[in-house]
Amino acid sequence: MTLDARIPEGPIAGKWRRWLDDHKLVGPRNRPSHRVIVVGTGLAGASAAASLGAQGFKVDSFCFHDSPRRAHSIAAQGGINAAKDFANEGDAVQRLFYDTIKGGDFRSREANVWRLAQVSTNIIDQATAQGVPFNREYGGQLATRSFGGVLVKRTFYTRGQTGQQLLLGAYQALQHQVAEGNVTVHNRHEMLDVVLVDGVARGIIARNLITGAIERHAADCVVIASGGYSNAFYLSTNAMGSNATAAWKATKKGAYFANPCYTQIHPTCIPQSGEYQSKLTLMSESLRNDGRIWVPRDPDEQREPQDIPEEERYYFLEERYPAFGNLAPRDIASRAAKVVCDDGLGVGGTKRGVYLDFRDEIERQGRDAIEGKYLNLFQMYERITGDSPFEKPMMIYPAPHYTMGGLWVDYELQTTVQGLFAIGEANFSDHGANRLGASALMQALADGYFIAPHTVMHYLATQRKKPLDTEHEAFVEAEQGVRSQIDRLMSAQGTKSPQAIHREVGAIMLDKCGMLRTREGLLEAIEQIREIRARFWDEVRVDGSAEEFNPTLEYAGRLADFIELSELMCEDALRREESCGGHFRGEHETEDGEALRHDDEFAVVTAWQYPEDGLDAGAFEPHDEPLVFNEVKLATRSYK
């Protein structure tokens, strides 16, 4: 199958407008007879469901959370980008477009990124109209700040709780549509399969997580907005429940999974403290605006950081990347931290940490100014570690954070399965091989508010309407499949909790498919993961029953999918014989240790097909979508 992204013809700036002008509409009176399923209530899912509901469609919205407001988007701290130029720097769509393409190391689709930059400005207007309280300047105007990897101040924020406020805006819009009778929210429901009728997505199988009932839901199309897969690494900054099951079940039904090896390791997280640790906590990147990152030059340094004189401190980002310094993009900042720690310069109990120091800016701007910007982050840090960043530099270390890879989608955000859409972090998105700070919220909301509602409408308008029938054999079959996996898990006779096995997989992934990958390591990892996959079903134990609220059962099912996905992540990393963005292959680096791309061979999106007869009988098959660059010249990304 050739991958056709279906990008509209013509000059890039007019593509989206032209698409909108040509797209088909469903008349307002016909809309209520169409049902749309949206899986996920994060920024992408909630905004899409609310917008489709407001257009007049009947929407079934699903989340495994106890309330749609708890989706993982709630945790985003730093901000959201928009090309508004409120800071009067000459910022514009073109510049946001270029920054995103360059930030992604020239591995994203031009047309999509341009559209993203275009609609970015509407998001801020939309959110403000909903009552999202963006930070304001003294005159009452919206405030902005700068974020990693760019030289303009285009990031909007609501204190350190931008994701929370944006999500609550979308959640409230969703609840408004619930009150209007257009949206039904199925909370504490987990989608466990998508149902294809004649190759077209027509519904899902979901488990009611309270009663354990397996339910069939039919619709005219299905939108997946289930978030990213960073938890494949076990410890990540993602919420405990974040998982890849929805996307992975879609993959098993024929949707291609693109660029799985593009994962982002975030530079500013609190280092791990022990084996019992269940997740890692991100400290917003905005801290890098005023904090300086360093390690002692002496590997055997014993003094408290405050007592180490200036000349004995190694400000490695400032030295290596004078133009961007502490604001270098995430992949570069993370790798630099890893390198200094590998060289034995790391700090803290595990020696895997670097300092993030506010001393100079506290002196320069005053404690009040710093408090005004970061108080809640400082408090959070102190709460977790017991140290105050006002007295002692923070300790940070990179942690898995975001996944650029995901379900392959065309320009209309449709996967390779007809009628199955993917939005937000769940798709392979617009970020190429690396995402810039404050761009995920932008993309999730661009997809949900401004793109999917139109492309879904267009899809519905172009389909001959067929009656919905959950008695169809496709539903029966899909339900049986779901039931048999649950039975298999419940009857497994092992002695290990899913957590214990997950920890094993995660350790392999972090070590061999993390910030630095090599051919040898990846081959080993694939071997080890296959071996875990083989013994998983004998080793795991699930307590309780399938007819009740059973978090162990939920976990085990998600882990089974993570194990398969982890293997694919390694396969993709192995096949991509180059370094780009978050994907760094030890064999492909420049003389001074920077990422070395091979554009002639790898300026492509790799979309993987799940073997029809299952993983034991077949192998994942790669399909390449060539990336064409007309607007930008491929350059070596330099932040020096």
Binding site: G131, T158, Q172, H176, V178, Y276
Partner: protein
Amino acid sequence: MNFQLEIWRQDSRDAPGHFETKHVEDVDPEASFLEMLDTLNEDLVAKGGRTVAFDSDCREGICGTCALTINGMPHGPNQVTTCQTYMRDFEDGSTITVEPFRNNAFPAVRDLAVDRSALDRIIQAGGYVSVTTGPQPDPNSQPVTPEVHQTVMDAAICIGCGACVAACPNGAAMLFTGAKVTHLNNLPQGQPERDERSRNMVLQMDEEGFGGCTNYGECARVCPQDIGIDVIGMLNREYRRSSRTKKKTHPKKMVAQ
């Protein structure tokens, strides 16, 4: 560190519940309360026992999912979420009771997990600005002063965990509702629906069976986001104001499920 836990066990919404004693040993003081429970559960799985069901997600105090009553205090001793409560906050060797958030409007799910959809229905009754997706005015056309922004943000940061409800001797949800009303009714965007919002949200609170506020102030004392009791004053004022204005002929009314 070692602890004796008295944990609430309940198989389902309608099943009777009881306390069960568990012992945990060699707990790292730096582990969080939930990590301590994870370890207990891992052990239970390995040994063929029945795990203790509880809810959590972000584990950094923002999603509002975690909801344990620890030693009688919703969330625990420190006015932070359960997930931000660390074992170093407890005395070595002590006995700790662990219960769910209790309220009539929060039916039990299993063990320590409860159903808080009642709070969603309060939002459905009016906790939004009725804008649909589409072109909107320039945000700077409606300036908001930093003072108003501060009042709004201090309320808007509510995480909807329901600790206020669990702490209130009357089982009131007024801190939660007051926070949303304070957020939206203070903003220019919230003005057109101001009265309807206050009225309908209060009606929905009653519909769900939440109690009324008699100024115990327990809610604000346990609120992990430090939302002040003044939002309840605001809610009362806004409700009074709304009852002076003419009622709509078809007030929206939700039915509790």
